[in-house]
Amino acid sequence: MPRVTVAAVQAAPEFLDRAATIDKVIALAEEAASRGARLVAFPEAFVPGYPDWVWRTRPWDDTASTLYARLLEQALVAASPACDALAEAARRLGIWLSVGATERDPAGSTLYNALLHFAPDGRLAGRHRKLMPSGGERLVWGAGDGSGLTTIDTGFGRLGGLICWENYMPLARSALYAQGIDIYLAPTWDNSDVWIPTLRHIAREGRTYVIGVTACLRATDLPEDLPGRAALYGGAEDWLSRGNSAIISPAGDIIAGPLAGEEGIVCAEIDAEVARASRQQLDVVGHYSRSDVLRLTVDATARAAVTFRRDDAEPPARPSAGSAAPSREAAPVPGQPASRHAGKR
């Protein structure tokens, strides 16, 4: 298996501007690719920016509602021109492109904190919606189902990941370990110093490379017309997030970063064979498991709130993506099977 360079892009989004942020993603992906990166990862909810205000506003006041409306308008829809632009960039650059986005269904009003993986052939190869938002995030994001707990064979290792504090869900991590994950993405907003020990622990526990990627963002980066800007972000502290991006080896050693207080591309060379060989020492879903004592079942079924059934149509009309047709929840994401069970590697 080839040794490859991977990149974590620590950057500031064009806050609440989907099109401009996607332009920035593509420009930075080009730069990372020019430095040899075969996988380029962006932070949590990078498109169109992490809704930091959930930690500063009173939950239901007018500012919070206005900001939610703008986030809804600027969210990314899978199978949309904005999404296609990212897929096309991955194809043109010949890279795996993993992007955190606030995402919604075509006709949906609930937002999801999603991690999208675009393949070098231009497919949307995977989509994971965060299973459990944290605290104030629960006022803007819904919860994903188990269908996104997948890993993808990149040809240079199995790729997957969890978002921010999902990384504190031992069972979700186990679901990824069981699929032989070699390259574990942890896009996050958490820029505390305790986050790095968590990345190192996960690397050691899963004997996997871990790519932690965090946005950095200052109040002065925020658009002038942002509702509530002065009241929420007028204080002495300019940083909303200083960033915290780092790449960790399967032994738990920091091999790149952590980068803080600036934008930058954190790169490291990885070798999935090293990760796999190190599981001679520890394989928590193999020789270091006890399936006679501890057995985990994961429901990887895609779950829709409403499923439509029609007995009168012949043949059943297949709604196109983006139409207002029913069964939008069930519309498969391109490249992703509607139901994909977490199998053994």
Binding site: P170, R200, R204, S289
Partner: protein, 338 residues
Amino acid sequence: MTTLRIAAVQASYVLMDRDAAIGQVAALTAAAAARGAQLIVFPEVFVPGTPIWIDTQPIWTGDEDWFALLAENAVVIPSPASERLAAIAAEHQVWLVVGVQEREPHGSTIYNTVLYFSPLGELAGRHRKLVPTGSERTVWGIGDGSTLQVIDTGLARIGGLICWENYMPLARFHLYAQGVQVWLAPTLASGDGWIATMRHIARENRMFVIGVNPVLHEDQVPAGFPGRDRLIPAGYTEDNGPWLEEGNSVVVAPSGTVLAGPVRQREETLIADLGLQDVAVARRHLDPVGHYNRPDIFRLQVNTSPQPAVIESGTIASTSKLNGDSDEYQTSHEHPHS
């Protein structure tokens, strides 16, 4: 607000000498109790120490005398040795947690076990390591799911796992679900990566974590130890240094912040006051078995039955033994080892 004073005892032992190691437990428990400790934790297999030959020599190469010493000095429950440990807890009215090499009364397999003694001198809990690591598999057997219990001390709910068991996410989750507030991790693991794990685990379940290691310098292995020159070959200490056990004890808060340690290359008892209210407060942020869980997606099944080598049935077995022993998940019958 309830505060628990704990002691993590990083100490050395007389290798493969059970009675001397228990003497160390007695002396160090007295010292920690004098400093007000209510919960005193000793390292992994402190009685009678680490079978260091499993890493200094190829497997099964000239280890006969060493294994004989290990079997002879292992702790049987109950036995005068285990009763002596219980009496130490009772004498100082403390919770005493000690890692031991354990075996069945007539057994030849050694288990890596942690014993929990109450201030009343009762054996309140026992955990046998579920999976030994690498070369450890050549000296230790494996425990079953019947020894994965969290213990309510009245002050705090305590529990934990041994060394690299701490990397078993499902085992941790099972203990988290029992409401553990103070996590005990007796270990031999050295280095900074282990400290990252201790901090992560604290933050993952928003609880206090006590990591406790032994220290052993090559000079502390008695001159008359059988095959001492082969036990500690010159090449081994050249590669690894003179510390056979380096220590790495640490105490971590529910936030993941280090409260005490890590301490290395010396004996030291770490004392810390744990404000137990911090656990509940921190879990409003993250509770991996409550509001931060997804039981609709993840279902963990745990077989907590003892798994003895033989389940007896037939006319000479007592009727109580026959009751329900055929049920794989039946848990109410007495532990066959206790």
